[in-house]
Symmetry: C2
Subunit: 313 residues, 2 copies
């Protein structure tokens, strides 16, 4: 049977006020793989990043300089990084602290991401330290990065809800985002780590941040699809002016602290919706579908992307 895509579907219906293009920050090789039990070797990771780059992904987060005993999947990030750093316009890596920063710098990184939790519980569980201890650690990394001319993105985790604390106060999100901006982090990614955001909350949170003087152009949305809300949340974000969205091919990943088998928003599904809205991403949907199928096979698990499932059936 002819696929919907061969039939020219989805129909292209741009919406007034939405942009002509957005930037997708591909996180499958890092946020995706780090939560997967199947360990991939360096060659496979490099092939994944090569495929994503060939598909047109403009930014690919390629690894993480965290403790190998805590995140075994990321133990070989230095080697992966060195093999892929020239494949894509941007190949950022994640660093949790100064030790990670130095390892990343030694590997030749010039583009990093740091992360902090909005909630106390997740800071303790994921970073192993309370927020008041983590914040100066990250601030020091950002100061060093400025001196070294290294570009920095800041991730905020548990922006829309927390698996221990439940509701998250938007004022706390604004406080942390404002602090990170004051240290010199230009770009922030708002993480719905357990996938509990709904569209009204996305708009409300974005408005609170913009109201506190943070430009919407500096904000990215990092939605997980645990409860199927990710695309509705992205659409709400688009309407508020967000132009950067994180996603992972085949929807790989997931949060080990969330009650869920599902992970990141699948890049496949995001590109499908954006295509329908007439919004360019630079990503070739067919090459992405192929990469996504290849990745699912490498991990030995079915894709969580509805687009991938429907197109490859």
């Amino acid at each position: 049977m002819t696929t919907t895509r061969e039939l020219g579907l989805p129909s292209i219906s741009p919406q007034q006020g939405l942009p002509d293009e957005v930037e997708i920050w591909e996180v499958a090789p890092r946020d995706g793989l780090q939560a997967e039990k199947t360990l991939l070797n360096v060659d496979t990771k490099v092939e994944l990043i090569e495929r994503l780059a060939r598909a047109g992904a403009p930014v690919i987060e390629v690894g993480s300089f965290v403790r190998a005993d805590r995140v075994p999947q990321m133990a070989d990030s230095a080697e992966v990084f060195q093999r892929v750093k020239d494949l894509s316009p941007r190949t950022p890596v994640l660093v949790p602290n100064m030790r990670g920063y130095e390892l990343a710098l030694a590997a030749g990184a010039t583009d990093i991401a740091v992360f902090l939790s909005v909630t106390e519980s997740f800071s303790e569980a994921n970073l192993g330290a309370p927020r008041e201890r983590m914040e100066p650690i990250v601030e020091a990394v950002v100061e060093r990065a400025a001196i070294d001319g290294v570009r920095v993105r800041g991730y905020l985790s548990m922006v829309f809800g927390d698996p221990w604390e439940g509701h998250v106060d938007t004022a706390e999100v604004v406080r942390l985002a404002t602090a990170m901006r004051s240290w010199g982090i230009a770009d922030l990614s708002l993480g719905d780590t357990i996938g509990v955001a709904t569209p009204g909350q996305v708009k409300q949170t974005l408005r609170a941040l913009v109201g506190a003087g943070i430009p919407i152009s500096s904000l990215a949305l990092h939605m997980h699809d645990t409860y199927g809300m990710a695309l509705a949340n992205v659409y709400a974000g688009l309407e508020e002016g967000v132009r950067i969205f994180d996603a992972a091919a085949a929807g790989v990943g997931g949060c080990p602290f969330a009650n869920s088998a599902t992970g990141n928003l699948a890049t496949d599904d995001l590109v499908w919706m954006l295509t329908g809205l007439g919004i360019q991403t630079g990503i070739d949907p067919d090459a992405l579908t192929e990469t996504s199928a290849w990745l699912s096979q490498a991990l030995g698990k079915p894709t969580t992307s509805r687009v991938a499932r429907s197109l490859t059936r």
Copy 2:
């Protein structure tokens, strides 16, 4: 582990301009089951409808008076209808033509739904006749229903794309909707039968219909989740003023003519998003989750609802 719902998640964040309540038109017993291969017996169907009614579903489409050789799952609709008709405030049944109408009337139905395809190809494939032959057939049913005091909803199929023709012209949707309104059908449900709609297209189509004089209050959205777009499309519809949404518990169903294993928007996922938006439906989420799990088990297939998968894992 505590479930997100026990933690009070999703957080309730109403959005200005959206309503306090909407009506969910539950279609699992009809549109859902008719596409499922596993045949359920009358007792199981009755139990499904009882459970949905107890969970608070305000409208439950309980069966279809179509040819048993074409849709075996619906062969016992008269018996099912008679056993459930007093369980819920509204228990409409689907009728394709005058023969079906008479069977429905004989069973005691006072609330029916008729259907027509926007595209020629689907009319031929699903109804077995071209549109110009089907339209007078349905018009005659609507005229009879008016005389008999029977309430009528009209379904439009393939509103946003067609598996043979690809793109669907919005003018054709407006033409058919206007015709159906002129016959006396007050309420119309716009079907994304193969799940290819995207949010800008939903808004564009709704505006075209409203521009042609059709009140938004008379329009329902019937989204399939084939490509994961259903909730983003519902959210777009909410923003345009739609207040009636079709959905099926556990996301049962699917279109036999679409390249897909996935079916209707899962009521579970719809209720989750609406809860986050502070919109009432009268449906108890816990009772729905339980019913949805029970239905998946009765059909021997995994739920397609992301909420159900995450909550019952």
